[in-house]
């Protein structure tokens, strides 16, 4: 596969540059360990890192599911009720001015050191991109399709509004929702890890903070590497899934 080979080459160049930097500057390993040292640490702490990775992975996935569900629900509500849109949408935009990270200590205070506060953190951070993208899609339905649907449902008992939402507006907005979900997949790990930094006893964020405090920078980097790997895997899995589910969506970049 061409994309995979290109990614591997880019990664190899990055690792070589990193190792080169370490050799040239002779920097202490507790400031910046080389990739080889990190790899050794990863191999040595596989079980430890794996355990914490599972915790973080579960937090990310639960956060994604929960945040996306809320986002989809609120986008449909906002599009269905004009009054809700008029009152809540400005409020929703204003709440985005509050850095969600600043809420992390409060969430830990309210929901405890366990998983709930991290799941909530991840949900909160992806809620808005999903809502905004989906609502945008619901708003931009091709007017011709709606006109056609109006002539088809005119004179029948039902208003046709629900039928239009279900059969035209929502399917037409799915590519926009997919864009929102891709953003969500990219930022959800940030939410989970920040939640872990603020207060936890498990997860990669906790492990990184712990390793940092004990000058085990190689372990910190190993955990970071696994976190990045996980985030990339989540993104590409979701991207692949969305492409499979929306085969009718044209991709004009595909053949470039």
């Amino acid at each position: 596969m061409d994309t995979a080979r290109r990614s591997l080459i880019s990664l190899a160049i990055l690792l070589a540059g990193w190792q080169g930097l370490v050799w040239v500057t002779q920097v202490e390993p507790f400031i910046l360990p080389g990739p080889w040292l990190v790899a050794l640490s990863l191999a040595g702490h596989l079980e430890l890192i794996g355990g914490h990775a599972v915790t973080t992975l579960v937090e990310i996935i639960l956060g994604l599911v929960l945040g996306s569900a809320f986002g989809v629900f609120s986008a449909i509500s906002l599009s269905w009720f004009p009054n809700v849109r008029r009152w809540l949408l400005p409020l929703l935009v204003v709440t985005q001015a509050i850095p969600v990270f600043a809420l992390a200590p409060v969430l830990v205070l309210w929901l405890g050191y366990g998983m709930a506060s991290k799941v909530m953190m991840a949900s909160l951070i992806i809620f808005f991109p999903v809502t905004a993208a989906f609502l945008d899609g619901l708003r931009r339905t091709e007017p011709g399709w709606l006109d056609l649907a109006r002539t088809m449902t005119a004179g029948t008992a039902s208003s046709g509004r629900w039928a239009m939402l279900r059969h035209i507006r929502i399917p037409a907005a799915l590519p926009a929702l997919a864009s929102g979900l891709r953003v969500a997949a990219a930022v959800a790990p940030i939410g989970a890890v920040v939640g872990e930094w603020v207060g936890s006893s498990a997860g990669l964020g906790y492990l990184m903070l712990h390793a940092n405090g004990r000058m085990q920078i190689d372990l910190l980097f190993a955990a970071l590497f696994v976190l990045a790997l996980m985030a990339v895997a989540i993104y590409f899995t979701l991207d692949w899934l969305l492409r499979r589910l929306l085969p009718w969506q044209p991709d004009s970049l595909a053949n470039d």
Partner: protein, 250 residues
Amino acid sequence: MPAQTFDNSTDPAIGIALRGGALAFDGRPVFEDLDLDIPAGRTTCLLGTSGVGKSSLLRLIAGISPEATARRLVASDGGPIAGRIAYMDQRDLLLPWLSVLDNVTLGARLRGEAAEQPRALALLRQVGLADEAGALPSALSGGMRQRAALARTLMEDRAVVLMDEPFSAVDALTRLRLQDLAAELLVGRTILLVTHDPLEALRLGHRILVLRGDPAHLSEPLEPAGAVPRRADDPALHGLAATILHDLAA
């Protein structure tokens, strides 16, 4: 109000009478106090240049124009118009996520009725798309897409069919074929066809009206001789087309 049902296949053709149609943009009238009669079971063609308000007039009758208004808009049998018209646009308006077959049965799905698949497949066969029933619209050519849209229009089986420049987005030869196909399949229905192509109006129209002026008004109806669809190479048609073009430019 009791729910009314119409069985259009046995319903006699209905005409439509519009009185006092009006449309204004930014306070400037596009047309006002306009009267239009669409006779039952015949094809009325409405010709006009861009921006003269002919599409708005059609959309007013279709009930999808938020801007244009009418003092009175009724069917010739005194019944309502809503629910008795099928609409076909210049764009095929096929939903890209539905197969051709599912697009043809869209109306039933929107109304919560069971889709009559055998009839839809028969219609697709009539428009020459039997093999494309399961394909997505993106796999079809422009002419095929417009034929699918024609099948969807026929599937609605309404007494009145409103067509807004339905064949203007395809090449000349495909357009002629589509005109023949539409004339064949829509025979006996009340049709309002909006077009900017005089030859198309002359091929398909029992009755031709020209909308022009500022504010726009309708010309005296022109009723060319002969059964529709008229032959595209008829020299008499080309003579008339030249006259109409002259009228449009005046």
